[in-house]
Amino acid sequence: MIGIVSCGIGNVQSVLNAFARLGHEAMAVEDPARLGEADRIVLPGVGAFPSCMRRLQESGFRAALDRDVKSGKPFLGVCVGMQLMAETGTEFGDMPGLGYIPGRVELIPKTSPDLRIPHIGWNDLRIARPTPLLAGLDTDSACYFVHSYALRCAEEQDVAAWTDYGSPVVAAVARGNVFGLQAHPEKSQLVGLRILDNFARLPC
């Protein structure tokens, strides 16, 4: 069963709807004590890094996630949920993240004056290396992005896919059992559903 972390920082219902469409059993987990019942975990996130991180701490999910992720459960962070996986966030000042992926979350570089931020819309995934999360996708598969900040990985081998917006922007990360997607798979139609289906089928 897929557990969707539900502590008021993400659009849990959309993720549930997507797994329901795919025929995978998923549930919103509101009590961190029950996270252990899930055999894989999705962390959706929307909003600012510090407020999301604080919610994770205060709700007790931080500790539960650390334990489960360390135990080897497949984990997927979506949008800000992926950014929270970083060591450090910089939105409204430096703040430690979950620390699952070495790197920092920084504002998308405004490489030209006409580069509009936030980065909103459909953009191509450029696959950096094969990962089970992105299996079966062409390199020009477009996903829906909405973000102003982006994860900058300290170790390039963590990058599973890039997207190009003024400069290369990390679109997906993979490190052992932890995965992250900057785009919104639950809003990326067939491509996004394929990614969620891949995640739901990871061995665990």
Binding site: S14, P113, H147, Q189, L193
Partner: protein
């Protein structure tokens, strides 16, 4: 490369999708959930629903639709969101943070705020802080007056505003808007093309994406919105509602003309 979005607009009045003309005349054309399903099958880039129900007005007396009144707007949203695997913006009649919370909680990815953004910019800021700027779309309605000047209007086109359109757009950007949905009152439903002049003036004045809306009569109007209007996304209502297979054909047209649109169709 970031794609140019092509966005179907759905106006809701008393729970039904309506065709709008000049912000004054409305005709019921469909059920909001069925329309979402149709655009989902067409793999639309995004959907925008705007509730334009007038205060104090009631339903059309149609009993053949499931949704009767404006009270059901959240029920409509929930049904739409349940099988909407594309970005969904929802707005209209948003007055308070509680309205925003209700839309986001029930499945909207973005909220569109129009008149209240003008009256209470602090609400725009609060929404951006709570849900992120990307979820905060400010709707700006502009009319080209008889003297050729463009004027922002609020209250669904009924109340003119003195502030210059560019200054207003910049003020909304500073307040926290992540996107501007620009609608032309006089082009609404007119099929004469976008008001590219005001689109460009606003798109050039801000650094957030601007969605052009109002007036598309044929596919070449999309090109004008992009090339001359500098819009990041092009929206339309009637051309998608009334022309067979028009969404996919619009994408094909733009792709063939060399525009970077998403084309997730075989062939």
């Amino acid at each position: 490369m970031l794609k140019i979005r092509v966005v179907p607009m759905l106006y809701l009045m008393n729970g039904l999708v309506v065709r709008s003309e000049g912000f004054r005349e409305f005709k019921a054309i469909g059920n909001p959930v069925a329309e979402m399903e149709r655009y989902g099958e067409w793999l639309a880039d995004e959907l925008v629903y705007l509730d334009i129900t007038r205060d104090g007005e009631h339903d059309f007396g149609r009993e053949d639709h499931k949704f009767k009144g404006e009270r059901d707007i959240v029920a409509i949203l929930r049904q739409i969101a349940a099988s909407c695997f594309m970005p969904l913006a929802f707005g209209g009649r948003v007055k308070t943070m509680a309205d925003v919370d209700r839309f986001i909680r029930n499945g909207a990815d973005k909220v569109v705020i129009c008149s209240q953004a003008f009256r209470e910019p602090a609400l725009v800021t609060a929404v951006a802080e709570k849900y992120g700027a990307q979820a905060m779309v400010v709707g700006i309605d502009v009319r080209r007056e008889d003297d050729g000047r463009h004027r922002v209007h609020v209250d669904q086109g009924r109340t003119p505003v003195d502030e210059a359109p560019e200054a207003y757009a910049r003020r909304m950007e500073a307040a926290g808007a992540g996107e501007i949905l620009l609608n032309s009152i006089d082009r609404d439903g007119a099929a004469e093309g976008y008001d590219v002049e005001i689109t460009r003036r606003i798109a050039d004045a801000v650094s957030i994406p601007v969605v052009a809306c109002g007036g598309v009569g044929d596919f070449s109007d999309f090109r004008a919105g992009i090339d001359e209007g500098h819009a990041s996304a092009v929206a339309a209502g009637n051309i998608f509602h009334f022309t067979e297979m028009s969404y996919k054909r619009a994408k094909r047209y733009l792709k063939d003309k060399g525009y970077g649109v998403r084309y997730p169709y075989p062939g």
